[in-house]
Subunit: 229 residues, 2 copies
């Protein structure tokens, strides 16, 4: 059960591969494998997280609540993602809530073991900088996307994003299942609107819908739609 970080393949997907053998060994000695069931909250907005999670398996959503309690999904994680670094870096409460969208297994790495290499290992620190900058770039793109594109465009965009990020089966079924409410929250629209637009896409032969499964039938046209053509 207690596998060694040094041998862990997941780290090839993230910045932990910039750590030295000694640093990895220390992490390996004190890390903890946590599992979360679908729907379980990994950490919440407003709470301090005392370490960083490395997602080994499963998908999470990062979301915020607005003043009226409406949820906005700001990011989806993928395998290998390091989450919860905000608290570790800033010593401030987290500003997002991360929730498992399916069964998730993640290694919990105590803060100190991240902070030390962040100060001492330039390779790791540079890699982490790139990650945070990339997250910021994506967030800026999302701002522009939400405020200048229509809900139709954003829905088409989300479907393409989900396919590109999580892949699809040979039959074309996207390998992530979201509720209509979650889809609406990611797109930034009302649940009913999301449902209507998905139904419309189905009627137009762009996608197929079976329960929570989405199958892309016409990716080219979806991409055109996403660009507003």
């Amino acid at each position: 059960m207690m596998s060694r970080c040094e041998q862990c393949l997941i780290k090839e997907f993230n910045n932990l591969n910039a750590l030295s053998k000694e640093e990895l060994k220390k992490i390996s000695d004190s890390k903890d494998i946590h599992t979360f069931k679908k729907g379980e909250v990994i950490f919440s907005e407003g709470k301090f997280v005392t370490g960083v999670y490395c997602i080994k398996e499963g998908v999470c959503k990062s979301s915020q609540l607005n003043a009226n309690g409406k949820e906005q999904i700001v990011k989806f994680t993928k395998k290998g993602d390091l989450i919860g670094y905000h608290s570790a870096i800033t010593n401030e409460a987290n500003t997002i809530t991360v929730t498992a969208l399916n069964d998730v297994s993640a290694c919990f790495i105590p803060q100190e073991l991240i902070k030390k290499p962040l100060d001492e290992n330039a390779k790791f620190s540079t890699a982490m900088f790139k990650t945070v900058c990339s997250d910021l770039k994506e967030a800026n793109n999302a701002i522009t996307n939400i405020s200048t594109n229509t809900v139709h465009q954003r829905m088409a965009d989300l479907i393409i994003f989900l396919k590109d990020t999580y892949g699809s089966t040979e039959a074309g079924v996207i390998k992530i299942q979201l509720s209509r409410k979650e889809i609406a929250s990611a797109v930034g629209t009302a649940t009913e609107s999301a449902i209507r637009i998905l139904s419309g896409f189905k009627k137009d032969g762009l996608i197929d819908l079976t329960g929570k499964s989405i199958t892309i039938l016409n990716e080219i046209e979806l991409k055109r739609l996403a660009e507003g053509l």
Copy 2:
């Protein structure tokens, strides 16, 4: 003219104060003071920036263009802000365009002189991490704000933000002048809608408008509006 960074007061507003005397001296020796007239572009989306700018005086907007060429303002800078760090950290093209909103004077610091302390000076590196994380936090808040709040709410929110960030005269006039188009772009709405909402706020006695100047008359009610009450 060639003032020394070591004595510069602006650095007290940003992370450069975490640098050692030697590091500051190096920067001082090769920095360049650039001035930009109102409306001038400091650097553009898609271009590489070969250094970081430290804003000594003036205000800038950071914006992106969407596929249809519509501008979205994603951030306003203030005195002391370090801008253009994205390229320096990631070695990638910049993803935003920064434009002077009034006359701006900024010190240009070549990339190497930032990169080296970023690797070697943990205090500076930690400070920069906090800045990027804070920018990311703000961007996430903007996503939630734009997609869950109405244009009215966001307009009220922007007015409060501008007052808090740039201050106001004794008479209550906010110390930054934006065109209606820029206000619309920051709020994420059409120019006509922005104009209409501002006129509405004026009619309701919340603000006063004289040319491009905005005066807050009822901050409490504006804050209530921003929260959707």
